[in-house]
């Protein structure tokens, strides 16, 4: 064998391995996106679930999926404005460590030369990683981290597709306004929050939004999530008689609240849990017999058979054996929004991608999530992000609001244990 034929063979093998060989037409240079998540460590489960979701999203973008035609880029192969270029993702693991997220961002930008970035699950990691992206001038899509301070630092390169605390607060108020229109009584609400950063910030956002929309907050009860007894709180609520009680709680405490309310025979017209404890896998088995009708939020819904969301869920299920969850779905939606911007930019130039992101205007019917759209303000926050409300009926949550998307009827007042 001559030296040149060896070289040719090696090239051939390499080409086959990397999939360069196939199309006769001139292949466009792939678009590289760097994504960082916790793939090991405490939050590994969330990172791994999102990883599977992104693989589904890449399949939808890179291959033709005419059955999902309402999503931009689904019907076509690759990004049409870039000559059908495919998206390649470099996925790295920051283990939930903010300083590692910082180093990995530098590596993705300088060595892997990615065109855009996405991540990073933990707010603390998104916070440090976005600062690096800003320095290098590479667009960073924050997939689903919720802390307020990630946007609003005057950054030009940071965008966030997911709803944050104030969006959830606005959703609750719109829900109340809807109920009032239907003639239901919402004279006052109560906000019960665990007293660390999470509960306090969400509680503040809800109180502020309630004030603005003229819904009186009868009582605000901060408490420690490690309490072994919550009777005092429940008795306080019982005295004030609010029409809705909103809980911003972790797992043990939300279960304890539901049980204590039953023990003290206190059943308000409605209880709304702000995700977290109410979404914990142990919540429904523990309290489904006493908390019938309790509400929760989720921006993701599987939807009716045949719908786009249902088909996406089937694809995800075929890969993982599980239904798609809210967190991973929000990440998927953020990646779709980023890909749409890159396609509109028609280029892998970071500056052009950034400008296209800033002009993003996706309508509700172009999304897989229950947002009212994707449109970024000057801080990079999606101002049309919103969420669905779901209700515990039997042994699972059903989507009950907004009515246009609902698959079950809202039960009001909640039945609690009286069924």
């Amino acid at each position: 064998m001559t030296r040149s034929s060896v070289l040719l063979a090696v090239c051939g093998v390499a080409a086959a391995m990397f999939g360069f060989a196939a199309p006769a037409a001139r292949t466009a240079e792939p678009v590289r996106i760097g994504i960082m998540w916790p793939l090991t460590g405490n939050a590994a489960a969330a990172g791994q679930a999102s990883k599977a979701a992104v693989e589904v999203a890449l399949d939808i973008i890179n291959n033709a999926h005419p059955e999902l035609a309402n999503l931009p880029l689904a019907a076509t192969t690759g990004l049409p404005n870039l000559g059908g270029a495919k998206i390649e993702v470099t996925l790295v693991d920051h283990q939930g460590d903010p300083s590692m997220a910082q180093q990995l961002t530098t590596r993705l930008v300088t060595q892997d030369k990615v065109n855009a970035l996405m991540g990073a699950y933990q707010s603390s990691c998104s916070f440090t990683a976005t600062a690096v992206a800003e320095r290098y001038g590479v667009p960073f899509m924050v997939g689903e981290s919720a802390a307020l301070n990630i946007t609003g630092r005057g950054f030009k390169w940071v965008f966030r597709g997911t709803p944050i605390a104030s969006d959830y607060a606005r959703t609750y108020m719109r829900f109340f306004a809807d109920l009032k229109k239907q003639g239901r009584k919402i004279d006052s609400i109560a906000v019960v929050n665990e007293n660390t950063d999470y509960g306090t910030s969400v509680g503040d956002a809800i109180e502020a939004e309630a004030k603005q929309t003229g819904v009186p907050v009868a009582i605000r009860i901060p408490y420690s999530a490690s309490s072994t007894d919550v009777s005092a709180q429940v008795l306080q609520l019982k005295q004030k008689q609010p029409d809705v009680v909103i809980f911003i709680s972790y797992t043990a405490d939300s279960i304890l609240y539901m049980k204590t309310m039953r023990n003290l025979d206190y059943r308000p017209p409605m209880v709304i849990g702000d995700d977290t404890g109410f979404s914990d896998p142990s919540f429904i088995p523990a309290v489904s017999d006493v908390a019938q009708g309790a509400m929760n939020r989720s921006a993701w819904d599987i939807g009716k058979p045949g719908s786009t969301t249902y088909k996406i869920n089937e694809m995800y299920k075929a890969k993982t054996g599980r239904d798609l969850d809210d967190t991973s779905a929000r990440n998927m939606q953020s990646l779709f929004a980023l890909a749409d911007a890159i396609n509109r930019a028609g280029s892998t130039d970071p500056e052009k991608i950034r400008d296209a992101l800033a002009k993003t205007d996706l309508k509700p019917d172009q999304l897989m999530m229950g947002y009212q759209g994707v449109k970024f303000d000057e801080t990079g926050q999606n101002i049309l992000a919103a969420t669905y409300l779901i209700q515990l009926q039997g042994k699972q949550y059903q989507l009950v609001w907004p009515e246009t998307a609902a698959n079950a009827k809202l039960q009001w007042p909640m039945a609690g244990w009286t069924q």
Partner: protein
């Protein structure tokens, strides 16, 4: 009516505090040994109850006794393999050994049961009694009653029986006790078994009312220490009263001052009590 509910609720909560403190009184109050793993014993009692309910079924009597038995055995084993040896070492070794034991048990539970919260399925203790507008959760009423019975049994054991006298003699002076024909090892092993067994019953009953994960021992362990110190070392009845008082204060201050202040009030009173009466409520100076 609300005042009555607050008072009743506080007393029931206090009875539960007394319940999971009773085992600690024996080891710490009587034998003068600080057991940091007490909260973990309670936690293991909760998991034993869950395993029994899920594995073979049965009501509170079944899983309560199973938890007591399992923890009694564990208490004896821990004495034989750990405590017996560190007793010969300096005080600091005793403290660190049970602290290490607590971490070992907690993280073993994480490994074995995972960090997810669990709770017992509905059972005979799930209901509520309505006394004309005052609500008494059955689980808490039973836990409170068992606490009182356990405390009285323990008090009887220590003051009226031969075994009790032997326990006290060994605690007082193991060498002198040996000379009197008592075998300190056996007596101490029994004390550890009883202490852990009481924690096991407490755990099984708590499991009927609370969701938990392997870190629950931290929360309950701390309260147990405060209850025993408040009640006074060496007084079994003292920790029953202390539990009731602390429960009552927590409920009242939580309701009228706000829940974030309830622990401040309790610990302020605790410090004040120790300042005025360092031996605790009923301890001997």
């Amino acid at each position: 009516m609300v005042i009555m509910q607050v008072i009743v609720g506080g007393l029931l909560l206090g009875a539960i505090y007394a319940l999971f403190s009773s085992g600690l009184t024996l080891i710490w109050g009587m034998m003068n040994f600080i057991n940091f793993a007490h909260g973990e014993f309670v936690m293991l009692g909760m998991y034993v109850a869950l395993l029994v309910v899920v594995g073979i079924g049965g009501g509170p009597a079944v899983f309560g006794i199973a938890a007591a038995g399992a923890l009694f055995a564990l208490g004896v084993v821990i004495y034989a393999f750990l405590i017996r040896h560190v007793l010969r070492g300096p005080m600091i070794a005793q403290i660190l050994s049970t602290f290490g034991l607590a971490l070992l048990l907690r993280y073993a539970a994480f490994w074995f049961f995972s960090a997810n919260f669990v709770s017992l399925p509905g059972n005979a203790l799930s209901g509520t009694i309505d006394l004309g507008g005052i609500f008494l959760p059955v689980a808490q009423v039973v836990a409170g009653s068992v606490a009182i019975v356990l405390t009285l049994l323990l008090q009887f054991l220590l003051t009226r029986t031969l075994i009790g006298s032997m326990l006290l003699a060994v605690a007082e002076d193991p060498d002198a006790a040996t000379l009197m024909g008592i075998r300190p090892d056996r007596i101490q092993a029994l004390a550890w078994g009883l202490s852990a067994g009481a924690a096991g019953i407490a755990g099984a009953l708590l499991a009927t009312a609370y969701p938990w994960s392997p870190s629950v021992g931290e929360t309950f362990g701390l309260i147990a220490f405060v209850v025993v110190a408040f009640g006074g070392f060496g007084s079994v009845l003292g920790s029953l009263y202390a539990g009731l008082i602390i429960g009552l204060i927590q409920a009242a201050s939580g309701f009228w001052l706000g829940v974030i202040y309830k622990d401040v009030v309790v610990y302020a009173l605790f410090v004040a009590l120790l300042w005025l009466r360092p031996q605790g409520l009923m301890g001997k100076a």
